[in-house]
């Protein structure tokens, strides 16, 4: 558990430092020395929050596939939106339901919903309208056809 927590802390620290560095006009040693303790504090806060809400991450390989496909999805779905807008008929969105496994532990299922909602919202054509923890369902609104529908 300690090893996994160290990995989790390292990942959060790396993410927080990346956000800091992304906002810099030029990266200097001093900035990195300020960024590191701030990022460690953020990582501590993230892990603390997860423990308080009793969240539990279980990494899934499909998330990596979805993330890798995201840049292509953004370009393709943006082009489809442009095409839909250029047509005289206005695009009508549709709402669909994505069902998750019902036998999954509640905390693992919550993490799955959070990550999938984030990945879905990152693609231009769709966003998550609602999630139902009891039914293990996610309501997704789609404006145009998605590049790789689930």
């Amino acid at each position: 558990v300690t090893g996994l927590r160290a990995v989790e802390a390292s990942c959060w620290t790396a993410v927080a430092m990346a956000v800091w560095i992304a906002s810099l006009a030029s990266v200097t040693g001093e900035e990195l020395w300020v960024a590191l303790p701030a990022a460690v504090l953020c990582a501590g806060a993230a892990i603390g929050t997860r423990l308080i809400i009793r969240g539990r991450w279980r990494f899934r390989r499909s998330w990596l596939h979805d993330l890798a496909a995201l840049p292509i999805a953004i370009v393709v779905e943006t082009c489809r939106t442009l095409r839909a807008v250029l047509r005289t008929r206005r695009p009508h969105g549709r709402t669909s339901t994505v069902t998750h496994p019902k036998r999954e532990r509640a905390d693992v299922a919550a993490a799955r919903r959070a990550v999938e909602a984030l990945i879905t919202a990152a693609s231009p054509a769709a966003y998550v309208l609602d999630t139902d923890p009891r039914r293990r369902e996610m309501t997704v609104h789609t404006l145009v056809d998605r590049w790789r529908s689930r």
């Binding site: 006009a25 943006t78 939106t81 695009p91 231009p124 309208l129 609602d130 309501t139």
Partner: protein, 88 residues
């Protein structure tokens, strides 16, 4: 009069016409749920435009604006989506 246009400026205009304008149009037509779709698209498209534009004009200190926009717009979209979710 010769006007020098850099490659990044061309990309910035491309994003503006190809992504920001369509997202704005979607955000102005249809029902609330469809309009929210436009708003959801507008934030990343705007952030991408601002990022490329900051590089094109060599003002990387402006990058904090799209970064903040991205972080705030995501949570903002979640709030709007929550308000428009079907009642159970």
């Amino acid at each position: 009069v010769a006007i020098a246009v850099s490659f990044l400026e061309v990309i910035a205009v491309g994003i503006l016409i190809g992504a920001v304008v369509p997202a704005s149009v979607v955000g102005m037509r249809g029902g609330p749920v469809d309009r929210l779709s436009g708003l959801v698209q507008l934030a990343p498209a705007g952030a991408a435009f601002l990022m490329v534009f900051a590089q094109a004009v060599a003002r990387t200190d402006y990058l904090i604006v799209p970064l903040t926009l991205t972080l705030i717009s995501f949570t903002g979209s979640l709030v709007y989506a929550r308000l428009m979710a079907p009642r159970r």
